[in-house]
Symmetry: C2
Subunit: 195 residues, 2 copies
Amino acid sequence: MPGRRPGSPATRDAILAAAREAFGAVGFERATIRDIAARADVDPALVIHYFGSKGALFATAMELPIKPAEFAARIFADGPECAGERLAEAFLALWEDPRFAAQVRGILRAAVSHDSAAASLRTFIEGQVVDAVTGYLGEDARLRFELAGSHLIGLAFARYILRAEPLASASVAELVALLGPTLQTYLAGVLIGDA
Amino acid sequence: MPGRRPGSPATRDAILAAAREAFGAVGFERATIRDIAARADVDPALVIHYFGSKGALFATAMELPIKPAEFAARIFADGPECAGERLAEAFLALWEDPRFAAQVRGILRAAVSHDSAAASLRTFIEGQVVDAVTGYLGEDARLRFELAGSHLIGLAFARYILRAEPLASASVAELVALLGPTLQTYLAGVLIGDA
């Protein structure tokens, strides 16, 4: 087929990039395999060959362009007493990038609308993100870390999607100053062993 | 038209109840005026007569079955030093009701998917919820209260929509014990005047 790329790891990556674009632009429901294939310049059959279904493609595409292990290392690089502030900084830095924000907005939209997408995101968060950080904190930290994470997801929703004022116009530095101690409260309960 | 109710305040309320059901069940995008009218047992023209458009109907239906002023009074009833704990309790009590959870899930789904729905929810939160509480806290409390509110929205998403474990299975009492002090940190900055 002229203009269509053959199967290769590069093709697989091109499909994933196209899927992220499509899910971000129109959401899980309205994005089609056909549309994603067209964006990646491949045959739709190749998308099915690599990923099996739209749901499975979504689950793979959802693995965000952040490496949870590296993210966790950054948060704890300056010692446990700075973890709350580093977490606030690292999370806000991701969302200040409009491409990241558009991509995750697509993921959140799908998760709120479809139980299968919610299950994919849950599996990713439980299995990748929380595991990466609780390696630093011990198993009993899962609940506290999820509470900290839930705060950050809600913050992203209110600031970047809802754009509620004055939250949307607050500077990153102002937010880090308020968020840091709050997140630290959750993490410190584990870090200093009082949980 | 047999079986169709004429215009009246009761009809208007029936349409609003039907709209909440429909937005909660299938989301803003897929809910139609025709479907909402059928659920309310009225003519679709009557829906347009009362509300003008699906967007305007959504904005009105979004006014949740909580009265922000009463909610705020409850949170501050036991004095400022208990506000964080009371806020955590009151918010979780709402979400533990599956009907409330389904309704707000529909609202969140629409807000993530459509800028017009996000604008409606933003207007409601800025104009009703934050105003009600900052009456107790003073104008400079808006940012801190929105941070507390963003935590609660994110918590509802992670616990009731995503169902991430161990957060989803934690008891309300356990969560209130962890959330209360965190929310209090935001509110206390204003309540004790150090903001």
